[in-house]
Amino acid sequence: MAACIVWMLSLMGGFYPGESATDWPSTVTLHAQQPEAVDEFVPIDELPPQDQLPAAPLLVTAYAFVVLALFAYVISVARRLGAVQRDLERLQAELKRNGST
């Protein structure tokens, strides 16, 4: 009877004959020994230094892109305006010539 009880307990929690109940590894201890589950989100100020990105290149790239994009668009509009203006002047001159002849 006692041997049956010992056998059942050993199946449950790794209790071996000769060990006392206080030697049983507790559930809490077992869980504490396992590595903690890592949350997907880690606050940026808790990242290890080797995982932290330098901010300056990103900031400089952003501002450089803004300036270049706006400048490129202004140049584009100015060139298109200039081309149309030249065509207008040429055509108006031609109309004037045809009107005067």
């Binding site: 606050p43 940026i44 100020d45 990105l53 901010a55 300056a56 990103l58 900031l59 790239t61 952003a62 501002y63 892109f65 803004v66 994009a69 706006l70 668009y73 202004v74 509009v77 298109r80 305006l81 149309v84 203006q85 065509d87 207008l88 055509l91 108006q92 031609e94 109309l95 045809n98």
Partner: protein, 218 residues
């Protein structure tokens, strides 16, 4: 060009010269640090992106109902500005996000809807350039979808799960952050008005040129 154009251009240039000092003197945000300063161009360009989409949509509606070519010219000009400010927003945002969130992009509602709104405007411009006869009305119809997307982009962060900051952030900013932000916003708005006026002028001159060609052929 109207009388106010040159003084407004000078004012805009002056504001662009002053803004780096305001932005540099703004305090660092406690968690994001230096990279947060992208905010001072990202947010104003995003606002101009949305405003341009609304202008394009309203002008397109007026063109569809009245057939007035002036509204079509305004819509076409605004569509170009949607593409311009949209690409600025969609590039500066990920540059900030890479540092702040650890990823370049997230397929949440705001970012996805913004990308779709930008693509609608690119489609508008392609349609106007390559669409042929009737493309003006078809593009105007397309612009309505772009405008309908705008409130969706704005309120999405309040109703769907996202890592993007909500709309409650800006009204609660302290003055030290708010001053450079609103200065940049006014500067971008002035730039938007100037670019829109210049672009509309281009379309007006093209229309004048077309009329002259027709009179020569006639």
């Amino acid at each position: 060009m109207p009388v106010w154009f040159t003084p407004a251009t000078a004012l805009c240039g002056l504001m662009f010269a002053i803004s780096p000092f305001l932005i540099a003197n703004a305090p660092y945000e406690s968690t994001m640090g230096l990279v947060q300063k992208i905010f001072y161009v990202h947010l104003p360009s995003a606002w101009m992106f949305l405003i341009a989409a609304i202008v394009c949509g309203v002008a397109s509606i007026r063109f569809l109902f009245r057939g007035d070519a002036r509204h079509d010219r305004l819509a076409w000009a605004a569509a170009e500005l949607v593409v311009l400010f949209g690409i600025v927003t969609l590039v500066t945002g990920p540059l900030w996000a890479r540092k702040a969130w650890g990823v370049w992009w997230q397929w949440d509602v705001r970012l996805t809807a913004s990308l779709i709104g930008w693509m609608v405007s690119v489609a508008y411009l392609l349609l106007r350039k390559y669409g042929g006869p009737g493309s003006d009305k078809l593009a105007a119809g397309l612009a309505l979808f772009g405008m309908a997307n705008v409130p969706f982009i704005y309120i999405s962060v309040n109703y769907w799960r996202t890592i993007h900051p909500t709309t409650s952030v800006v009204p609660t900013l302290p003055t030290s952050f708010g001053l450079p932000l609103w200065f940049s916003a006014v500067m971008f708005l002035l730039l938007f008005v100037l670019l829109l006026r210049a672009r509309v002028r281009l379309e007006e001159q093209r229309a004048q040129l077309d009329a002259l060609y027709l009179s020569v052929d006639g």
